[in-house]
Symmetry: C2
Subunit: 503 residues, 2 copies
Amino acid sequence: MSDVLSVDPRTGEPRERVAAESAPQDVDRAVRAAAATLPALADRAVRADLLRTAAALLEEGGEEIIATADAETALGRVRLTGELARTCYQLRAFAEVAEAGAFLDVIIDHADPDARPAPRPDLRRYKVPLGVVAVFSASNFPLAFSVPGGDTASALAAGCPVVVKAHPDHPATSVLTARALRAAAEKAGLPADVVGLVHGFSAGPELVRHPLTAAVGFTGSVRGGRALHDLAAARPRPIPFHGELGSLNPVVVTEQAAATRAAAIGAGLAASYTQGLGQFCVKPGLVLLPAGAAGDAVLDAVVTATVPAGPLLDPRMRAAFLDGVRSRAALPGVAQALAAGEDEAAPLAVRPGVLTVAAGQLAAGTHAELLEECFGPVTVVARYGSEAERDAVLGTLPGNLTATVHLGAGEREGAAAGLVARLAGLAGRVVVDGWPTGVTVAPAMQHGGPYPASTSTSTSVGSTAIERWLRPVCFQDTPDALLPPELREDNPLGVPRRVDGVA
Amino acid sequence: MSDVLSVDPRTGEPRERVAAESAPQDVDRAVRAAAATLPALADRAVRADLLRTAAALLEEGGEEIIATADAETALGRVRLTGELARTCYQLRAFAEVAEAGAFLDVIIDHADPDARPAPRPDLRRYKVPLGVVAVFSASNFPLAFSVPGGDTASALAAGCPVVVKAHPDHPATSVLTARALRAAAEKAGLPADVVGLVHGFSAGPELVRHPLTAAVGFTGSVRGGRALHDLAAARPRPIPFHGELGSLNPVVVTEQAAATRAAAIGAGLAASYTQGLGQFCVKPGLVLLPAGAAGDAVLDAVVTATVPAGPLLDPRMRAAFLDGVRSRAALPGVAQALAAGEDEAAPLAVRPGVLTVAAGQLAAGTHAELLEECFGPVTVVARYGSEAERDAVLGTLPGNLTATVHLGAGEREGAAAGLVARLAGLAGRVVVDGWPTGVTVAPAMQHGGPYPASTSTSTSVGSTAIERWLRPVCFQDTPDALLPPELREDNPLGVPRRVDGVA
């Protein structure tokens, strides 16, 4: 059995042996143990207690968690402190979602013997948890999209036990945070196995193929995510695979915006594409910038404002980044406004970079690689000579998590509505005069978009993320005392309901 | 190019040549033409007008439609008259759903610069149509689950154009009803191509693989549905596949129910398993009946009340039914309480049948075939000697559309709640003291269940069926005038919204 090691990306040296890679029987044991806890999770108030206790325990252990996560990821204490706060906020937000019960989507239609075209029986529908959810941690968010992250929080809120596949970039953080979640479960009177943890590459497919796994939440690469998606679809009993895979996150800067806000837009873009050293699923990877002087000023500001080098999460990621930049820079017509590349600051350090290309060339279909995500601190600036050129590029784009537009002051009404609508066709979230990095945890958030951004139409951030782990069940002509309490006539739990068409 | 023929199942003779099978270029043309109508469907009021006009035109042409459907399917004028009424009701119900706009699921979170853990931008989310929906007609419902059926109605209500794959058992009805829908579109000021129609076996895969197809609605067999599901998942860009495949629809009769209502339960079961000659996705295919005298009385009543022979929809279906009954009857321990089989009333006629087996034998795992749907008028009665035996059978069942229980008067509270909860784990709809056949079109309906009942967690009947064809989009910090009207601050269209947590 191989060892799972925690590695310091600042030195490239192993920090400690965390665990053994999970063998097939370990995965089987974890899934079975999780499945056995399903009945214990039936009470929404207990789930809320679990989630709030988890937040409290993560905060209590915050110092060690942040230090460990920083040692494994080099993401920095400031960023990780913010990520822990976000993670705890998210756990508490899902506690409220679980308590409020709107997600149960209760619909009651009373019997109507006179209904046309046929008499209607008494029908009462709500949603029940699917079962064990397999969660795949993300490399780039050791907390918010990993063991205690949004997939776990939303699944537990829905009443689903979770088995998390730890990411090899932060196994020690995974163990620490899983321990906090399991302790929280016990404090809430639940079995610790409502959250399980497995390690190692082969544990992923094992987890997806396990007969008791009922759904999957994944955040990661297109290649890895697609392979697991295909496994989920090929099972004897296919299961929902909610994957967030890859996104270019296009940004459009209009002529008017460039002419009036070059410095601010340039600085904002520099900060956004290098945030977390570009290791964000919502990193702006393609910028449509007007040709000419106003666009030049934006480009200059980007280059000037770009921050220095830093270490990426792991050597594989660094190699992919350097290869990706190299092959893109070698394409005909592509120039390096700022040369990304190796750096000697640390073994895994890289320097951020900006590539440029003419929009006309990009739209011609010969530069497909520029339309794929390159994970890390690089962005491609495509210069357009006309709106037609700009729109031709938009017409070639795959699905995205986000699409952003920077407008001039005179463009806040009128024709720009067409551009905004066009961007909405490309992405799950449209951002105006801002940056896609920073995904707010809020009911209205949509973090997901057309493939390859997501493999489903769901979101992985925000209250509606809970919808992924549920299925509706309808009870017909069922005596009140035999109904789940959420559906009884007198609504003893006070859940929101739509009764005979009235909410 | 092969001819598409309409065949009379009462005689086995071709009635007429309806069309040519669609070639790949015909499918491509239909999907492209449908996709081009997407912008025209943007207005919900126009969609409602289309759906209501379609209902009116189907009623106007009702006589011809019913006569044609009866001539092609032998389902009978009474049943088809009811099915047309149901279909028109469904179209009008979705017109109301489209107008009301609750399905848009509008959530607005206003900006909050003081929000913790991070300032919140203005976020506004609603749902947009996915694009062209491919609809696969069902053999057994030439209207309600075919061209003008629930998939089409819900997709159009969502704003999605539709291309329907006609079922070979009723091509003439398909052409007639497609003509009505296309005429309705033109009356509503829409392009006729919001609804397209294709014919022929190879048109199915072509439709699922087409790059502009955005989602699939399917009603049919496990084999056909699974093959298309796998195609949808294997596309370069996978798309949602909402398939309703197969269901055993177990029925449990308690000892107390059998002891007190044997005649009524037997008659009800006979009517339910032979309704539409057993060609219903919700046909009760497995009945758990107590061993002993009370159960015997139910079984006698079933046999006595079973109606005479009739023609199935097509020769392939008849052969599969006869083979299915034959191989099941040959299993050790299986007896024929009523022998299903061939009949000379008509070339495609069959006689209904009832098979019996001991529950203990069924639970042993050696009789897997009895746990698969056998399409047509046959049901399997498993006699249980104890609740443990009964529950052991329930523990071996795959997913179902429905699960039914008949209770005694003294079981309307107490321990039966556990049985009802157990059935809810097996199916999308639980029916108490009734029969699964007859799927009410109502907001609370759930017509879908764990695989193989469905390939997704959605429903194909009832208002929430519209959710299948939508994806959420969130607008961040977008000027009011650039927002879609549904999300503007003053709510000009008056759609239901959840604003800052308040509905």
